[in-house]
């Protein structure tokens, strides 16, 4: 989707909010939001791609003004309601619906710390030979689709060079739909000169490298 989250190269933004000796969290609630969003993910009703899509489909004005952990909270509430883990009445009242059965959490603290250490790799066994090799020139798609994608707008319709072969990875465009299909396909590091992306006045010593899936690319 051509969403407001797709910020690369958007002009008009000012100085960075740099803070010396910044703490990991500015308030306890920020850390709790992070923890709850990770823990609710353990119900396996959504995945990282659907989670990202839920943030990028926030209303654009909210996306630009809410803080990071406010966005995560909005996403947590949205995903939990959509998965029927909580209801709108429960969100509004703050208490479980009368007569609802209390669940048993799918994971405890030690269980989650073990999962954290193990991670959730996105690499899968290859199902087909990679179409491109190191050094190949490729052109990115000009048009994408209304769903979740990881081809940024500023890199569309650009010619770049394959510089890294990452193996076969879950394709977010498919996985975010939560159909059970992961759509895994070869993933490449693709390098673009700044002049290709931003025009001839760009810094000739600057490049941008992004990790892009095979279906985003065509031979150039």
């Amino acid at each position: 989707m051509d969403g407001v989250h797709d910020l690369g190269g958007v002009e008009g933004f000012g100085r960075l909010p740099i803070e010396d000796n910044e703490p990991a969290f500015h308030d306890d609630w920020e850390a709790k939001v992070m923890a709850m969003r990770l823990l609710m993910g353990a119900w396996r009703k959504w995945n990282i791609d659907a989670g990202r899509h839920s943030v990028e489909t926030l209303p654009p004005a909210d996306y630009l003004t809410l803080t990071y952990y406010e966005k995560w909270l909005a996403s947590l509430v949205f995903l939990s309601e959509r998965a029927d883990l909580i209801t709108r009445d429960e969100i509004a009242s703050g208490v479980p619906a009368p007569g609802s059965v209390k669940s048993s959490p799918p994971i405890d603290g030690p269980g989650f710390l073990a999962l954290m250490a193990k991670g959730r790799p996105s690499e899968r066994a290859p199902t087909a030979a990679a179409k491109f090799a190191l050094g190949d020139q490729v052109r990115t798609a000009r048009h994408m689709h209304a769903g979740h994608t990881r081809l940024p707008r500023y890199l569309r319709g650009c010619v770049g060079e394959i510089v890294l072969l990452h193996g076969t990875h879950v394709l977010p465009d498919v996985s975010s739909r939560l159909t059970g299909d992961e759509g895994a396909e070869p993933l490449y590091g693709v390098r673009f000169s700044a002049r290709e992306v931003w025009g001839n006045n760009a810094d000739p010593k600057l490049s941008i490298t992004a990790d892009l899936w095979e279906s985003y690319l065509a031979a150039a």
Binding site: L7, G8, G9, L16, P17, I18, E19, E22, A24, F25, H26, D28, W29, K32, V33, A35, L39, H53, T57, P59, A61, D62, T67, Y68, L73, L76, V77, F78, S80, L85, I86, R88, I91, A92, G94, V95, P96, K102, D108, G109, G111, F112, M116, G119, P121, S122, E123, R150, P152, H166, H169, V170, L187, W198, K205, S207, I208, T209, A210, D211
Partner: protein, 207 residues
């Protein structure tokens, strides 16, 4: 996804103040038995107190002092970093990129805020900001100036946009006059920003 208006989004049902909003949802999730409160505490403790840029600093200091490890890190960062114990969630697939006199690497995630949690912890506000994500792919030297970092005009700049589940760790240049320092002392010079590419490693004795 079908939420076009702010009023329709379920988070609009929560109290306006973030701390109260979070308390309300925490109470609900715990009372419904959807999350274990002890697990909330365990995750908060891990990311607030245990996992942070001190982990990545150990990786960089080892690469500075152990040529075989440096080669391993640049060839297979996932395995080399896991060997020091810093693997897992949001660090499943790692690539290390090394700065030199002629090359400077900078990492961003323009689409969200992807960041290598096991080595750097949770990202700072500026990394997640619209300002950084919008500007650094177009004008990295302008962004670096805000960190008081200036590169010579002939230095190549590579920006890495973390669009997939590959996470990037910058290996900054080792400061000069540090030949007599061991890895533990060198790790103290490796800042978070130097491993994102918006800073240099510190000089010994401050600065």
């Amino acid at each position: 996804m079908p939420h076009d208006h702010s009023d329709d989004h379920p988070h609009a049902l929560l109290p306006p103040e973030p701390a109260l909003r979070v308390k309300a949802i925490e109470t609900l999730l715990v009372e419904k038995g959807l999350v274990d409160p002890g697990a909330i505490d365990a995750i908060v403790d891990a990311y607030a107190n245990k996992i942070g840029p001190q982990n990545g600093a150990k990786v960089v200091a080892k690469a500075w002092t152990d040529p075989a490890y440096r080669k391993w890190l640049l060839d297979d960062a996932t395995a080399a970093i896991a060997d020091l114990g810093f693997s897992g969630l949001q660090g499943e697939h790692m690539v290390a990129v090394e700065n030199t006199d002629q090359l400077h690497n900078i990492v961003v995630c323009t689409l969200c805020s992807c960041y290598p949690w096991p080595t750097l912890g949770v990202p700072p506000v500026w990394y997640k900001s619209s300002e950084y994500r919008a500007r650094v792919v177009r004008d990295p030297r302008g962004v670096l100036a805000e960190f008081n970092v200036t590169l010579a005009d002939d230095v190549e700049v590579r920006v890495w946009d973390s669009t997939a589940e590959i996470r990037y760790l910058v290996v900054p240049q080792r400061p000069v006059d540090t030949d007599d320092m061991d890895a533990d002392a060198l790790a103290q010079l490796v800042t978070r920003d130097s491993m994102i590419g918006t800073g240099f490693a510190l000089q010994p004795g401050g600065a």
